[in-house]
Amino acid sequence: MSPVHDQSYRRYQGSRAPVGRAWGIILRTGLRSLLSRKVFIALLIVAWIPFIVRTVQIYVVTAYPQAGQALPVNALLFQRFIELQGLFAFFITIYAGAGLIAADRRARALQVYLSKPLLRMEYIAGKLGVLMVYLSAVTILPSVLLIVMQIVLSGSFSFVIDNAAIVPAVILASAMRVIVPAFTMLALSSLSTSARYVAVMYTGVIFFSEAVYGVLRLATGSTRVAWVSVTGNFDVVTDAIFQQTARYDTPVLVSMLVLLALVAVSMSVLDRQVRGVEVVS
C-alpha cells in the first residue's frame, strides 16, 4: 500500500439514480436560488398581507355578526381575494420567471443541461415547477388557508356546507392564475437571453392586450371582445367558476379556449426553443 494518499482523479464506484429524476433536482435548485434573494422573500411576505387583512375581516364578522352587513363573508370575498392575489402573482411571475430559461440561454447552459442524462421535457418541467410552486404560494395556498381560517374562526363547517362549490372554485380560479402565467412566462423566457427584456415582453403582453380590449370596447360598444385581454379572460372564467354575474359579455367557452390556446402556444415555443444546439438556417 502506498504511503501517499492518492488525491488525483478516482473512478466512481457508488450508486446512480435511474434517469427521470433530474426535473426534481432542477426544481429544488431553482427554488433555493430564489429564496436566497431578499427582495424575493420580501415580495412573498407582501403577497400575504391581503390574507392577514381578510383573516381579520373574517374574525371581526365572526365575533361581531352585525359587521357582516358592511363586510360580508361570502363567495365574492374569496373571488375578490383571488383576483387581488393575481396582482402579486404578476410580480412573482416577472421576478421569478423572466430569467428561468433566459439566464441559461445567456450563459449557454442549455448544452450543459442537455448533455446530461435528462430529457428536454424534464428541464422544462423543472423550470416550470419553480414558477408554479411560488405562484401557488401566493394564490392557491393563501386562498385555501383563508377557507381554513373561516372554519377555524367560526368554529363550524356551516359556511363550507352552505357554499359547497367554494373549495373547488377557489382551487380552480387560483390554479388558472398559476398555470397560464407560468407557461406564458416560461415560453417568453425561452425566446430571449435577457431576463429584463423578457420581463418587458410579459408586461407588454398583459397591458397591450388590455389596451387593445379598451380600444375595441370603445369602437364596438360591447364587452364581447374581452377575449383579446388576458386579464379579461381570467375575469370571465373566474365569474363563471364562482357563479357570479358576468362582468363581460364574452362567452366563457371563448375565454377558456383563448387561455388554453395561450398554454398550447407556449408549449410549442418551449419545444422549439429548448434545444442543445441552435441551428441557424
Partner: protein, 313 residues
C-alpha cells in the same frame, strides 16, 4: 469476458444544418483511448460531437456509442458521457463546487456523493482553492477547467472535449493537456479531443481523425500516419521560389510552406544511399537556378499529416 464495443461508430452519417451539409456520408470506428478530431473551421468536428450527444438528428446514417444507438438510447449514452463544450457554457449564479455537484446530481449521483466528487474533481482540475467563487467571476482559463470538472464529476467512460485549451495561457494549456493525457492514459477514460491545434492533439492523442468539408480525410494512429516511407526536409532557397516548387511537384515531391521562406519537402520512397535525397534536392535547385540556403532533415509532424489529408499545397 465480452469485448467492450468501440466508443464511437459512425455508419454513413450525413448531417444537414440549415442549408449546409455539415457531415457527408461519414463512416468511422473510433478506437479506445485518446482520439483527436482535427480539421479546419467548419470541417464538422463540433457537429459530429453534437450529433453523438443527440443534439442534432442526422439526415441519414447510424451513430453508436459503446454499442448503443444514439437514436434509441440517448439517455443511457449521455449517462456514460462527459461533454466539455467549446464555448463558455456554465449554469449561472452558482459557485464552482455547487455547480459541479449540481451537474453530478443531474447525472444521477446521490447528493452527498455528488458533493464529494465535486470537491475531488475541482482539486484534480486545479480549482481547489477557487471552488467557492462564483463561476461568473472566473477567468477564461478557469472556465475551461470548470467545464472539464462538470464533464468529469459523474465519472464518464467517454469524454468529448471541444477545443479544450481555448483561451488558456501557455502554462494553463500545458496543465490542461497533462490532465487530458492523464485521463486517457492512466485513468481508463476514452477521450475524443476536437481541436484545430495540432500540437494539442499530437500531445494528448494516439489516434487522429482528420475531417475536411464534412468528410473524413484521414483516420489512423498518429505514428502510422506520420511515418510513411519517406522523409521530410526543411528547405530555404534564394531565387524563384515558384519555379522551384513547380519543379518539385513535377518530380512528385510534396512541399508546403511553413514560415516566411522555409518549406517542408516530403520525399517519398527509401533512399538507396545516405544523402541521396539531399543531393537530389540540390540538383533540382540547380536546375531551376535557385540557391539552397538551408537544408535540414526534419521529423514528420501531425501538421504534415493534416496538410496532406486536407490537400493543402
Amino acid at each position: 469476458m465480452p469485448e467492450t464495443p468501440p466508443p464511437v461508430v459512425l455508419d454513413r452519417v450525413s448531417v444537414v444544418l440549415g442549408r449546409q451539409r455539415a457531415l457527408s456520408d461519414v463512416s468511422a470506428v473510433f478506437p479506445r483511448g485518446a482520439v483527436g478530431l482535427l480539421g479546419p473551421n467548419g470541417a464538422g468536428k463540433s457537429t459530429m460531437l453534437k450529433t453523438l450527444l443527440g443534439f442534432i438528428a442526422p439526415e441519414q446514417g447510424r451513430l453508436q456509442v459503446y454499442g448503443l444507438d444514439v437514436a434509441t438510447h440517448p439517455l443511457e449514452i449521455r449517462a456514460r458521457l462527459g461533454y466539455m463544450p467549446e464555448s463558455d457554457a456554465l449554469v449561472p449564479g452558482m459557485n464552482a463546487v455547487t455547480l459541479v455537484a449540481y451537474c453530478g446530481e443531474l447525472c444521477g449521483l446521490p447528493r452527498t456523493d455528488a458533493m464529494q466528487r465535486a470537491h475531488e474533481v475541482l482539486y484534480y482540475v486545479g480549482l481547489g482553492e477557487a471552488r467557492y467563487r462564483n463561476v461568473e467571476t472566473y477567468s477564461s482559463g478557469m472556465k475551461q477547467r470548470i467545464k472539464l470538472a462538470q464533464a468529469l464529476v459523474h465519472d464518464p467512460d467517454l469524454l468529448f472535449l471541444d477545443e479544450p485549451t481555448n483561451g488558456m495561457d501557455p502554462r494553463g494549456r500545458d496543465e490542461m493537456l497533462e490532465l487530458i493525457r492523464d485521463l486517457a492514459h492512466n485513468k481508463g477514460i476514452d477521450v475524443i479531443v476536437s481541436s484545430h491545434l495540432l500540437p494539442d492533439v499530437e500531445y494528448t492523442c494516439d489516434v487522429v481523425v482528420v475531417l475536411d468539408k464534412g468528410a473524413i480525410a484521414a483516420l489512423g494512429p498518429i505514428d502510422t500516419l506520420k511515418g510513411p516511407a519517406g522523409r521530410v526536409f526543411e528547405v530555404r532557397v534564394k531565387g524563384s521560389l515558384a519555379a522551384f516548387v513547380d519543379r518539385l511537384h513535377a518530380e512528385g515531391l510534396e512541399c508546403r510552406e511553413t514560415e516566411e521562406d522555409v518549406m517542408r519537402v516530403f520525399v517519398p520512397g527509401t533512399p538507396r544511399v545516405p544523402g541521396e535525397d539531399q543531393r537530389r534536392l540540390c540538383e533540382l535547385a540547380r536546375q531551376t537556378d535557385v540557391q539552397v540556403r538551408h537544408l535540414r532533415p526534419s521529423l514528420p509532424t501531425l501538421e504534415d499529416v493534416f496538410a496532406r489529408a486536407i490537400g493543402e499545397p
